[in-house]
């Protein structure tokens, strides 16, 4: 087995192990950062969403062998950036958070959307988070919080 090297939240890292291990488990167990959650284990719920080279992916169905040379950003890598702070603050202010288990993934999905479309409509947002399941909120306040972030974070994206 060869070493798998990639960037995790801006830092070069290396993983020496089974290349079929799920990226989610590598992030949580091998690198010990737990903001990325496992909701379903089959890429359906989006709780484990991370950015892979700027694209939103579900880390529970990506083998770590597939991220060699890539840049992976988790909630830990986003939350202290100006964009991350704006999203976290908007989610809190807009009432998007209930049990919170889907929220780190939801924040990643919002970041992925705003990077490509800084001024989304409600319909754009609903589509962008349609792979992220939330059982608590009924989505309305999440949608409104992302709209709020897009307004408050004018110029950030």
């Amino acid at each position: 087995m060869s070493m798998i090297e990639f960037k995790l939240n801006g830092k070069p890292v290396a993983f020496d192990g089974n290349p079929l291990k799920r990226l989610l488990d590598v992030i949580r167990d091998d690198f010990g950062i737990t903001g990325t959650k496992e909701g379903c284990g089959e890429g359906e719920c989006g709780a484990c969403s991370v950015l892979k080279d700027g694209k939103l992916v579900t880390s529970c169905i990506i083998p770590v062998g597939a991220v060699g040379g890539c840049e992976i950003i988790t909630i830990e890598g986003l939350r202290d950036t100006p964009q991350g702070k704006c999203l976290v603050e908007s989610f809190a202010e807009g009432g998007a958070v209930q049990c919170g288990f889907c929220i780190p993934g939801m924040v990643m999905a919002a970041e992925a959307l705003l990077m490509n479309n800084p001024h989304p409509t409600e319909a754009d947002i609903r589509l962008a988070i349609s792979g992220n399941i939330c059982r608590c909120t009924g989505y309305d306040l999440i949608v409104e919080s992302i709209l709020l972030a897009s307004k408050k974070g004018e110029g950030l994206w």
């Binding site: 949580r28 737990t34 903001g35 990325t36 959650k37 496992e38 909701g39 379903c40 284990g41 089959e42 359906e44 719920c45 709780a47 988790t74 909630i75 830990e76 939350r79 999203l87 976290v88 603050e89 989610f91 809190a92 202010e93 807009g94 009432g95 998007a96 958070v97 209930q98 049990c99 919170g100 288990f101 889907c102 929220i103 780190p104 924040v107 409600e122 947002i125 609903r126 589509l127 988070i129 349609s130 792979g131 992220n132 399941i133 939330c134 059982r135 608590c136 909120t137 009924g138 989505y139 309305d140 306040l141 999440i142 949608v143």
Partner: protein
């Protein structure tokens, strides 16, 4: 520090740490030399265990089962009864029943060993559905007739006489299916020993339930076990009693292994091997006069309870007490039967028995209204309960009922009357309407007789600490209680501390369930804060308060007579749909609701509760199909059991009416369950009108609608 007022718009106290990914949920907790575990479960619905072939276990791996329970211990989880065995022993009663727990350090090795278990059975014919249980052809599972629990409620004249005088008796059977909670965080718990005492960390609603339930396994008292709630990623009733089923095997394993042990379900386990909402079958015989006026209704309610009682009798009681919906019929008789079957035990799920009967009465009345040519809204309004009306338990409605006002709000906002008249039956467009309620807190005098909730408030300098057993599971109570206490004390919320409960440190304020937290425990917080205000000059002060039942509202739990609920939440909903008549695809065009929750404690929290509860109700009616005809659940993942996404339903429009409740903090009543109880019926009404069909069973996913059109 600015003073917090109850009407301030505030941010939830837990929002930022959750959004930053810093909140530590059960699976994020790590202990030194922590072991992992998997439950070994029954693969058949009913039969004798002939042989358990345990694979050869490497050093440091353990298989623990009923045989390991010490002599002074009992193989039972004490929920309301203690019939639910911690481990199957000799026989199995449902697919997924715990047979043992496999423990070791490496999850990969555990998975491999798990697959090597060989258990042989002598299978027996299972009783799976309500119909199986009623027919009683297989050997009965419970008593001679599979009836695990039952009760009767009635009011008015003898129902058979009423029906015999009716111009017509309308018979109809309405059915509802299983519903899975799908809290995004699956079930999980950790057992360990700290300072020589057993400690359970759990994603759970009711820490005090856990210690009571599992202590008997080791012959201990509840106080001998410490339960600490971890950040809980959704529950909805699914973590009310069910955490006991994880904590029991963990405790026994801990008593033998004495190292931290984690048990965390993956999604498939959580789908297949956890409690569900009770499926129901509700049979009406409703007598009407020539104009369709209701003279009386004879209602039989059957709930599928699964193999063990868990909370089913209480769920059934609530189902029966809500079976006439928000209506006052001259005569009603309701018989409720909890049927034992060889399925995973059903248990609490938001609404706790009320949603099934409310869906049934709403849909039944829609059908009667249509048959006699009335608009359902106008037809139902004639029977709205009013203050002072007698209930089916010979109690009374003791509050103003603002349904007419709520109906006006949603019918105006949705333009209901125009659309109801214009959209032809079967035109592809439809608007539906429903009305519902939910009795707040424990039934009758349960708060006083059973729960006796206590709360303590401690002052240390400028810091006030609230001590009680209520849990935050997403619903917002940690924020709500701090807000109630801070605004009563006239201090800032930041000066009030309220942490996740540790059973050693807080008094038992009762379970976080039954829409009782704000209404009952919130009021304890309010009362404690009022007492504390007398002691504001003291550096250190403590006050403790206990629930007191208001005078003049008696309840007899042996006959189920009296005031079942002191305050109800009330609701009204409209749903508008368009249906593609070729593909049966339903597009929801609008959702309008109005709720009476007394007084909203926090605008954002109640907004989120309404949106989420209404969405779960729409999912229940429209898409969430969980089938079980063989003893095995057919759906096992989030791709075959589909819950609503952000694309399935539009933004909701919602209203509240002000109706302060005299015994709630600042006038607040319960709301967590109410908001689930009725939108399902409005959705089905709308789809029926759009397609010109009659629906007597939910869910109705798109693929099932064609069958209804034939």
């Amino acid at each position: 520090m600015s003073v917090t007022h109850i009407d301030d718009k505030i941010k939830r106290v837990d929002a930022v740490e959750k959004a930053r990914g810093e909140a530590i949920y059960l699976a994020d907790l790590k202990f030194d030399s922590m072991l992992y575990s998997r439950l070994i479960r029954s693969t058949i619905a009913r039969g004798r265990i002939d042989r358990i072939k345990v694979p050869s276990l490497p050093d440091g791996y353990y298989f623990i089962s009923a045989k390991d329970i010490p002599e002074n211990g009992k193989n039972a989880l004490k929920m309301i009864a203690d019939d639910w065995r911690c481990f199957a022993d000799g026989d199995v009663k449902y697919v997924g029943e715990t047979i043992g727990i496999l423990v070791g350090s490496d999850r990969g090795v555990l998975d491999k060993l798990y697959k090597e278990f060989e258990i042989t059975y002598t299978e027996e014919t299972p009783v799976v559905t309500i119909d199986d249980a009623i027919k009683n052809e297989a050997a009965p599972l419970c008593k001679e007739n599979n009836i695990m629990c039952s009760l009767v409620s009635d009011k008015g004249e003898d129902i058979n006489e009423v029906l015999s005088k009716a111009a017509e008796v309308i018979e109809e059977t309405i059915e509802t299916g299983f519903q899975e909670h799908v809290h995004l965080e699956t079930n999980g718990a950790i057992a360990t020993i700290e300072d020589g005492r057993y400690v359970i960390y759990a994603s759970a609603q009711c820490p005090f339930y856990i210690r009571k339930s599992i202590c008997g396994l080791l012959g201990l008292n509840p106080e001998d076990i410490v339960v600490k709630q971890t950040v809980t990623g959704g529950a909805f009733g699914g973590k009310e009693h069910f955490p006991d089923v994880l904590a029991g095997p963990l405790l026994l394993a801990e008593s033998i292994i004495k190292k931290p042990i984690q048990l965390s379900f993956d999604r498939e386990e959580d789908m297949l091997y956890s409690v569900k909402r009770h499926p129901s079958k509700i049979m009406f015989r409703t007598g009407v006069d020539r104009d369709g006026n209701i003279l009386g209704s004879d209602i039989k309610v059957y709930y599928n309870c699964g193999a063990y009682l868990s909370s089913s009798y209480v769920v059934l009681q609530r189902g029966v007490f809500h079976a006439n919906g928000v209506y006052n019929f001259p005569s009603t008789r309701i018989e409720g039967y909890g049927m034992a079957t060889n399925t995973f035990p059903s248990c609490a799920f938001r609404g706790f028995g009320a949603p099934q009967t409310i869906f049934a009465i709403e849909t039944h009345l829609d059908h009667i209204a249509r048959k006699f040519g009335y608009d359902p809204a106008i037809y139902k309004k004639k029977y709205f309960l009013k203050k002072g009306d007698e209930t089916v338990t010979e109690g009374h409605i003791i509050e103003d009922v603002k349904l007419p006002e709520m109906m006006e709000q949603i019918t105006s906002a949705s333009d209901y009357y125009r659309k109801s008249a214009e959209y032809g039956y079967g035109s592809g467009r439809g608007i539906g309407i429903s009305f519902y309620n939910h009795g707040g807190a424990f039934t009758g005098n349960g708060e006083q007789a059973i729960i006796k909730g206590r709360l303590k408030l401690v002052k240390d300098g400028d810091k006030f600490t609230v001590l009680c057993g209520q849990t935050e599971m997403g619903q917002g109570f940690r924020t709500a209680l701090r807000k109630i206490v801070a605004s009563t004390l006239e201090v800032g919320m930041d000066e009030v501390v309220f942490d996740a409960p540790n059973t050693d440190l807080v008094p038992d304020s009762g379970p976080t369930a039954a829409s009782r937290s704000t209404m009952i425990v919130g009021n304890l917080g309010y009362r404690a804060a009022l007492l504390m205000k007398e002691k504001m000059n003291e550096e250190h002060a403590e006050v403790e308060v206990q629930y007191e039942h208001p005078e003049g509202h008696p309840w007899d739990q042996s006959t189920f007579k009296g005031d079942a609920y002191l305050g109800y939440g009330w609701g009204a909903a409209c749903v508008e749909v368009e249906v593609d008549k070729l593909t049966n695809e339903v597009t929801v065009k609008g959702v309008w609701t109005s709720h009476d929750i007394g007084k909203p404690i926090d605008e954002l929290i109640v907004h989120g509760q309404v949106n989420g509860g209404v969405m779960q109700s729409l999912g229940y009616a429209a898409m969430e199909k969980m089938e079980n005809t063989t003893g095995h659940f057919k759906q096992s993942s989030m791709s075959d059991y589909v819950i609503p996404t952000s694309m399935d339903f539009p933004k909701q429009e919602y209203f509240f009416v002000d109706n302060p409740y005299p015994w709630g903090p600042f006038g607040a009543k319960g709301m967590g369950e109410l908001v689930f109880n009725g939108t399902d019926a409005a959705y089905v009404d709308a789809v029926e009108r759009a397609l010109g069909i009659t629906c007597t069973k939910i869910p109705i996913p798109v693929e099932d609608i064609e069958g209804l059109r034939r």
